[in-house]
Symmetry: C2
Subunit: 94 residues, 2 copies
DNA sequence: CGGTATCCAAAGTGATACTG
DNA sequence: CAGTATCACTTTGGATACCG
């Protein structure tokens, strides 16, 4: 899946995975570099790919929550060691 | 590292990891989608990041071999489950 | 063979406006 | 709040050709 190579995808999967269920704004706050529109697009792609599920609540104010699907969880599990190592390695060089 | 999110990076790491030492052309043949220039750029970035090492031989015809550094090996190990799972999942849907 | 140089298309960004 | 839409702009990536 070329989707994995797209910007922010791994990060999003991890963020959602860690939180369990997350709202749009929260994901956004963890990705300062990503624009609203890009994040929106990525999330849609992830939902289409069956890795993330979106739950929309008809409330005021509106609330939308994202969480990983079973496949998403599986991916997150496998992704964890990678992201962890990368994070550690980044600290070293700073 | 945002580098991981760049196109082909994970694939390249895996390809180099599997082969041990690889020549430019061989990597290219495993990535039909990537253009020469992109591959060249990616390899340079990977070398700069200390994940891949380049060995240039002053022969005719010229030969250049790439192989993973210790860090690259570590990354490849952690990346393996991810790539494996993604590959299986792709097969399912085809 | 293994690239770099060049030029062009596509993806992503930022800001802002608008909707349910 | 959680987006979608738009537009101008920057960054990436692709195609091709040429060089050592």
């Amino acid at each position: 899946m070329g989707l994995l190579g797209r910007k922010y995808v791994m990060e999003i999967v991890c963020i959602v995975g860690v939180h369990g269920t997350v709202r749009f704004g929260e994901i956004e706050s963890h990705l300062p570099g990503a624009s609203t529109s890009t994040l929106s697009t990525r999330l849609e792609e992830l939902v289409d790919a069956g890795l993330v599920e979106r739950e929309r609540y008809a409330e005021i104010p509106p609330r939308v929550e994202y969480e990983l699907s079973a496949d998403g969880e599986e991916l997150a599990t496998r992704l964890e060691p990678v992201v962890e190592w990368v994070a550690e390695r980044e600290e070293m060089s700073t």
